[in-house]
Amino acid sequence: MSDLLNKIYTGSTTQPGNPKRQKLIKPLPAVSPARLFAVEGAEKAQLPQPLIKTLDDLKRNLQTAVELEHSTIPPYLCALYSIKEGTNTVASTIIRSVVVEEMLHMILAANILNAIGGKPVINQKEFVPTYPGYLPGSDKSFIVGLEKFSKESIDVFLKIEKPSPPLPKFDPEQAADLLFEDPGFQTIGQFYQAIMLGIEYVNENTPGGIFIDDPEVHKRQVTQEHYYGSGGMIVPVYSIENAREAIEEIVGQGEGIDDTIDDSDAKLFGQTTEYAHYFRFNELLMERMYAEDDTPKSGPTGDPIVVDWIAVHNMKANPKVEDYKDQPDLLTKAKEFNQSYTQLLDQIHKACNGEPEQLMKGIALMYKLKYLATELMNIPLGDSGMMAGPTFEYEP
């Protein structure tokens, strides 16, 4: 048993492919859940079942993962583009770095889904979340909306990126509760742990495994050739090891830490370390960088960050195209934004469905979205004292 414990509770401290990024997450179990929870003398039939136990379950949850990753992007972009040009450079840099990593996570989730014969769906109306709303697959404990950069919106971002609670002292009963029976997830990390366990389980119980070794399927992977600028590594998924690496990348970048955020005394920070989204947002909220000797418990005590909470376009929260109907020019622009956004989703859909080179074409659209969003945020919304903003609605 101690070997297994070691496998769960230890591991290298950096992520494969990027020695600078700490692998702050708990290493995912390297063995199948059946064996993990094998208690001496117990019958296999008595063992707890994972939440995700069929290939269809798995595909459905991975599609949710793609949706989940995407659903964080419009809120982050609204905050980013609401920052007035030339101000808040640190805040902009931090939010931008998170956005591009969320895009990476979305593609990584799609890669896993493709590797097991699924087909990511990205260009449908249902794919686009309604704001304000809950994150796909979440336990509905908080609402996410399209809002300008503010302490309140950063606070929501912190909730999105909140780390998982720590693994309890090894106890099969408790672990089973935590990992297998929770309907809806408190954190994104928990969700991916359930997916990883599901992958292990279904792969082990499927003759020949679930990773399809076929050049036609391999061609559906988005590789380093097509994807870049994410800070992290794109991982093409051909095997269970690749899937694990991809999930570690996602969870590691997102929330990061193998402990509760308030209690850990681990020294995690420093100039050359790329730390998780949660802590980057926390730096903004605290208006201070983490210093090398800081711990999650100490909070950031390093150099102050100048955050100008006023130098922000006063974008109306959760705008809809409907709100603009009395201002025809604004309406046209907002629709143009939505058309470009929908077009971009369509390109990403194609890229994740056998035409990875389509991603390259998305670059121009991403710039167009940025310019249009900035224009929208400069247009007053009637006499309300508020400004318009992008609505991120599906508009084919």
């Binding site: 640190v90 840099t93 591009v100 380093q224 870049y228 600028g229 994410s230 800070g231 670059i363």
Partner: protein
């Protein structure tokens, strides 16, 4: 105060200095770099690097004339050349403004950047290798001089340079005149795939590739090929190297194998600059740092072994009269770049490297009365002489899509004609008429003067700017002893250092090329239905020349070369084939100044290859 002793003291943090510093520090040697520019510019990480670069970009946006040095600080205590200030010195008159003292007869119209990262901050990024015959001009064509090293000698160092810079290109496209199958190694690929050629290049190539042109009674078939460039694109999965390492046992530098090539993003974060975005402002500044600059190399140095002293302007090297070895480098450390107050300091090391640009290197040597047994220090100043031709295309070609230049015509880079006139390369430029006539600003001013405004003005600009075609003939200049850098106590800068005095002219071997190139240009314009609008103005163009009754204007390419040439003996050259001074065995020179001839390649790639060669030679000697 006793100063610290280093293994190597390097003057300048441009590409040569950075390559040498990186290679030596990673091989465990202690290195000091003396950099004349400001401390802010040396920031290599995070917010500091971001902020200083954003400052450069803002300065560029606000500059009325977008000349190559426009984003970067011009310091009174370490002045940079300003290409807008190249008026000739008139006898008996107060010297006109500008760092260079232009004695003429023609003004020298090129600049370099004096500050952290050097001229790679504003370079275009073209990374063509020189051709085998460029190294043996005397033996093959009875012109110029031969190099003491061959293309084959430099080839492994070219491969290192292409890794270091991160070259994007397609080796299959690289057909140049006069090269054999061994020019690139078998199966050689660049680290990254080629930058997509611009829309305009596609249109021009359609009617220019394979076009037959006649010049001086001979017919040539033109070709249009993609240009390798030092800016990020898609990594080539077949490229198998990641770094350059010092092999202690074999006493050689070599490429180290790796699973994949990772391109180098911006200094400030990993989220920016992994691909060229086609912003088209490569010169003077790439807004996302997808274009290579030397600070990316310096960032890879072993920081434990490296010190960089900024605000440190070198004035003189000290030489032991008896053994002729360099004993130290004197420099002036200013506090405020606008004030003359400074501290005099001396840096000491086992070996010294001057990598401060061709002009500064020559100036420092002359001021120190060093390395000059051959009387070649400062002589043979060269540049590519850029003759531009411009016209309006019938079809809209849409310049400014993509980086500065993605295609070139290599046909006249080598051939028998070099016995008669200089070779040239023709990049197809992607910047409309901005260079010769300051488009699109000048188009807007002219239209407004004609009463256009609003939509009519926009429509007019859309009609005109989108049809602007610029061809570019970069003529190789020969080394000539009277084209030279000198010093004169009458001309000094704010710190009391010498200003470079430039003597410069162009002889018939090059003028004949202007004539030939214009004939070729006419035929290209005709084949492409381009209406020629080229005007060479004898009054307003500083470098206006006449050949056989016909006027031509050339411009500077920013390729400052040749002022401390390498050669075969201590009587014909300043450095030997190892780039060590003949006169001082612990003084190496680095940079374009070592090049005996220029060829038709933009010189940065060759300079980088030479810098790796210098680094190897220093490691052998230490």
């Amino acid at each position: 105060m006793e100063s610290k002793h280093y293994d190597v003291v390097i003057v300048g943090s441009g590409i040569s200095g950075s390559v040498i510093a990186k290679t030596l520090t990673n091989a465990g040697k202690k290195v000091l770099i003396l950099e004349a520019g400001l401390q802010a510019g040396i920031a290599l990480e995070g917010e500091a690097a971001y902020n200083v670069y954003q400052d450069y970009i803002r300065t560029f946006y606000n500059a009325p004339a977008k000349v190559p040095n426009s984003p970067y600080p011009d310091l009174k205590d370490a002045p940079s050349i300003d290409v807008l200030q190249i008026q000739k010195l008139q006898p008996g008159q107060v010297p006109p403004p500008g760092y260079l003292v232009q004695k003429g007869p023609l003004p020298f119209a090129s600049d370099c950047m004096r500050g952290p990262g050097g001229t790679t901050m504003h370079w275009l990024g073209t990374t063509l290798r020189m051709l085998p015959n460029d190294f043996r001009m005397k033996s093959v064509y009875d012109q110029n001089v031969d190099w003491p090293i061959s293309y084959e000698h430099l080839k492994p160092f070219y491969e290192m340079a292409e890794l270091e810079i991160g070259v994007s290109g397609n080796v299959q496209d690289q057909h140049y005149p006069g090269i054999g199958p061994d020019f690139f190694g078998e199966d050689y690929v660049y680290p990254m795939r080629k930058i997509p050629q611009s829309y305009m290049d596609g249109l021009i190539s359609k009617k220019t590739d394979r076009l037959k042109v006649t010049v001086n009674d001979k017919t040539y078939q033109l070709s249009c090929i993609s240009t390798p460039q030092g800016r990020n694109s898609v990594p080539n999965t077949r490229y198998a190297y990641s770094k350059i390492i010092w092999d202690k046992t074999k006493k050689k530098l070599r490429l180290a194998k790796a699973d994949q090539y990772n391109n180098i993003p911006s200094l400030w974060d990993n989220y920016t600059g992994e691909r060229c975005e086609g912003n088209a402002s490569c010169v003077p500044i790439c807004p996302v740092q997808a274009k290579y600059n030397a600070l990316k190399t310096l960032k890879k140095a072993n920081k434990e072994n490296l010190e960089v002293s900024t605000r440190s302007v070198v004035s003189r090297i000290i030489i032991d009269k008896k053994n002729k070895r360099v004993e130290g480098i004197e420099y002036k450390r200013y506090e405020n770049p606008g004030e003359p107050e400074h501290t005099n300091l001396t840096a000491k090391g086992t070996i010294y490297v001057l990598a401060a640009s061709a002009i500064e290197n020559a100036k420092i040597l002359l001021a120190s009365d060093a390395a000059n047994t051959s009387d070649q220090v400062g002589r043979n100043l060269m540049d590519h002489l850029v003759m531009l031709t411009w016209g309006l295309s019938k079809e809209k070609v849409y310049p400014y899509r993509g980086p500065g230049s993605t295609t070139n015509i290599p046909t006249f880079r080598d051939g028998e004609f070099r016995k008669e006139h200089a070779a040239w390369i023709s990049p197809i430029d992607n910047w409309g008429w901005s260079w010769p006539v300051f488009s699109p600003g000048s188009d807007v001013s002219a239209a407004i003067a004609n009463g256009l405004f609003g939509k009519a003005l926009r429509d007019h600009i859309n009609e005109v700017v989108t049809r602007q075609v610029l061809l570019h003939f970069e003529v190789e200049q020969s080394p000539e002893p009277e084209n030279r850098v000198t010093i004169d106590p009458a001309y000094k800068d704010a710190l009391g250092n010498y200003k470079p005095v430039i003597h410069y002219s162009v002889s018939d071997y090059m003028l004949k090329s202007f004539e030939a190139a214009k004939i070729v240009s006419d035929q290209i314009f005709e084949a492409n239905d381009i209406e020629d609008h080229t005007v060479y103005n004898p009054v307003t163009d500083p470098d206006y020349v006449v050949y056989k009754g016909q006027g031509y204007t050339f411009r500077g390419a920013g390729h400052i070369v040749g002022t401390h040439r390498m050669g075969f003996t201590k009587d014909d050259s300043v450095v030997d084939k190892d780039q060590r001074c003949w006169d001082h065995d612990n003084l190496f020179l680095a940079g374009c100044g070592n090049m005996p001839t220029l060829g038709t390649s933009n010189p940065t790639l060759t300079m980088t290859a030479l810098a790796f060669n210098v680094a190897e030679n220093i490691l052998k000697q230490l």
